[in-house]
């Protein structure tokens, strides 16, 4: 009888809820307390991961600047700054709601705009979740700037940048990830596997980059007659390498952070992420060695990124051994893809389309093939469907967007401005005023080994291009 009363008491007390030190602890109050500590760990991990993913913005900026010419370095910094800054505002106002809001039909969300799901005093999880998602949205946006570097009009770029974060990325995202919060998309309902976003983030960025590069056309002097390729040298390889190391670091937030929970799963995700990147880097180096006779730095750097992009989707659902295979394949694929896009005269200064678009698709497919729980035609079919759906949504809509910008305010700078360099033409500045800049055989602005002519198509050049095999 006594016991009854006591236990009843305890239960009642605990029923009252959140334990406080002055209260007598009970089994139930302890259980709640344990859950709360775990929740705190989840917040910390999710937000630390978000910080690491944010830092990838610096990585993208350095890679892109390093792989392009000194005369456009300021413009690249400005684009990357704005991708994240305007993107954050756009995703706060519109994107998040479209991606994670309540979605009846499974095509896009319709609630939670302006972070309206958060009320002071209420559960702040939506804020932690938003923080983690906004850095993903900005990643998709900034991928594109690399492929459009050195010739895009800044004002036009800003318009694009707003729309990819507010519309193009969130809509596809809602199909695959809406269910992570209040939404629910048709693709995830079919069982589409894209743990951290090989398709949702990277392919989206990659296919938008493809559309942008096509609408813009190549940089002056990039291609000669007969499809001859004239390399336009990146001006700072250590900066590019630093960018890749930063991106690699950021991916340790990107992939394991996608658990948005502090649990044991992150261990395998870390290992897979690292091994795929390593394998991609090594294979890309050897591939470049075989194809060009020397281990080439640009390809090796792209190879590490290719491995990272490829493992993004399967990182939580394949074995480390599979991760190595997936990354290694990506390392080979990216080299061939870069050469391929050059051959079809799509000018992508940093290889964004190959790294993010192509390897993103490969990784998504690989998630089906190497699935730790076994694979099946159905699984692979759904993965292919997701890959296709991504291309079919992103490429046309981005293409349309760029065309609209082009015919209205204009997407590309004038040839004079391009020769002069965007830093002066668009920003009235000079990235390296203390350094003597070399014009050897080039134009009236920093030029590397300069291959530009007044008549771009002209065959006259200092650096004779060599037919690729």
């Amino acid at each position: 009888m006594k016991t009854f009363i006591i236990s009843g008491l305890l239960i009642l007390i605990s029923a009252v809820g959140a334990w406080a030190d002055d209260k007598i602890p009970t089994v139930l109050s302890n259980k709640e307390a344990i859950a709360l500590v775990q929740t705190h760990a989840d917040y910390v991990w999710t937000l630390v991961a978000a910080a690491l993913v944010f830092f990838m913005q610096a990585g993208f900026a350095m890679v892109e600047a390093g792989f392009t010419r000194a005369k456009n370095a300021i413009n690249i910094m400005m684009k990357n700054l704005m991708d994240f800054s305007m993107g954050s505002i756009a995703f706060w106002a519109v994107g998040f709601g479209l991606m994670f809001g309540v979605s009846k039909a499974g095509w896009f969300g319709t609630s939670g705009f302006f972070l309206s799901d958060f009320t002071p005093g209420g559960d702040p999880w939506v804020l932690a979740f938003w923080m983690f998602q906004v850095v993903f949205a900005a990643t998709a946006a900034t991928i594109v700037s690399g492929a459009m570097a050195e010739r895009t009009k800044f004002s036009g770029y800003l318009i694009y940048s707003f729309f990819i974060s507010a519309l193009i990325y969130p809509v596809f995202g809602s199909w695959a990830w809406g269910g992570l919060y209040k939404g629910g998309g048709w693709l995830e309902h079919l069982g589409f596997i894209d743990f951290a976003g090989s398709t949702v983030v990277h392919s989206v960025g990659g296919w938008a980059a493809l559309a942008g590069a096509i609408v813009l056309g190549p940089r002056l002097g990039k291609y000669g007659k007969d499809g001859k390729v004239r390399p336009i040298l990146g001006h700072n390889m250590p900066l590019a390498a630093l960018g890749v190391f930063i991106l690699w670091l950021g991916w340790f937030g990107f992939n394991p952070g996608s658990t948005t929970a502090a649990n044991k799963d992150i261990a395998m995700i870390f290992v897979n992420t690292n091994l795929a990147a390593a394998a991609g880097c090594v294979l890309a180096m050897f591939t470049s060695w075989m194809k060009f006779g020397k281990p080439e730095v640009g390809m090796s750097l792209n190879g590490a990124l290719a491995g990272l992009v490829a493992i993004t989707s399967p990182c939580a659902t394949v074995t480390p051994m599979s991760a190595i295979i997936i990354g290694a394949a990506a390392g080979v694929i990216v080299v061939l893809a870069v050469l391929f896009f050059d051959r079809i005269r799509i000018d992508d200064p940093v290889g964004a389309i190959s790294v993010h678009g192509v390897c993103g698709a490969w990784g998504t497919l690989a998630a089906g093939i190497f699935n730790i729980g076994g694979t099946s035609l159905k699984i692979i079919g759904v993965q292919l469907l997701g890959i296709g759906a991504c291309f079919l949504w992103v490429f046309p809509s981005a293409f349309l967007l760029f065309k609209l910008i082009d015919v209205t305010i204009g997407l590309r700078v004038s040839p004079e401005e391009e020769l002069e360099g965007l830093d002066f033409a668009e920003h009235g500045g000079n990235a390296y005023p203390d350094f003597e800049i070399s014009h050897a055989g080039g134009v009236g602005t920093p030029e590397g080994h300069g291959f530009l002519k007044t008549k771009p198509a002209s065959e006259k050049m200092l650096g004779k291009p060599v037919e690729q095999t």
Binding site: G429, H439, A440, G442, G444, T454, L462
Partner: protein, 112 residues
């Protein structure tokens, strides 16, 4: 022999070089320089302050040739470097007393 110094717009270098090759002049020395003249530099901004950059980047080509060739060379350069716009640059012809090829010790015409 004469030394021809041509100060041209940088993006014209390839064309001038090709024009010289065509008339059989393959040796030359080029140099990045900064020019002042009728063509003015441009305004730039830095952290809110606007300023004028007076100089214009130019490329200087030095080519030493036998006096017999001077007119032809000057011709070739002025044609290929011409855009008709201010700032196209200048060509100066200087006398050269002697030329030596370091490798062989040859002197005179055969040195160039």
């Amino acid at each position: 022999m004469n030394k021809i110094e041509a100060i041209i717009k940088p993006f014209k270098l390839d064309e001038v070089k090709d024009a010289l090759n065509k008339i059989g002049v393959n040796g030359m020395t080029i140099n990045e320089v900064k020019g002042f003249g009728r063509q003015r530099g441009h305004k730039e901004i830095y952290r809110g302050a606007e300023y004028q950059v007076d100089f214009v980047p130019k490329v200087k080509i030095d080519v030493v040739v036998d006096s017999a060739l001077v007119n032809e060379v000057v011709e070739a350069i002025s044609k290929s470097a011409n855009t008709g716009k201010i700032g196209d640059g200048k060509i100066f012809v200087l006398p050269v007393a002697e030329a030596v090829r370091i490798r062989t010790g040859e002197t005179g015409k055969s040195a160039i």
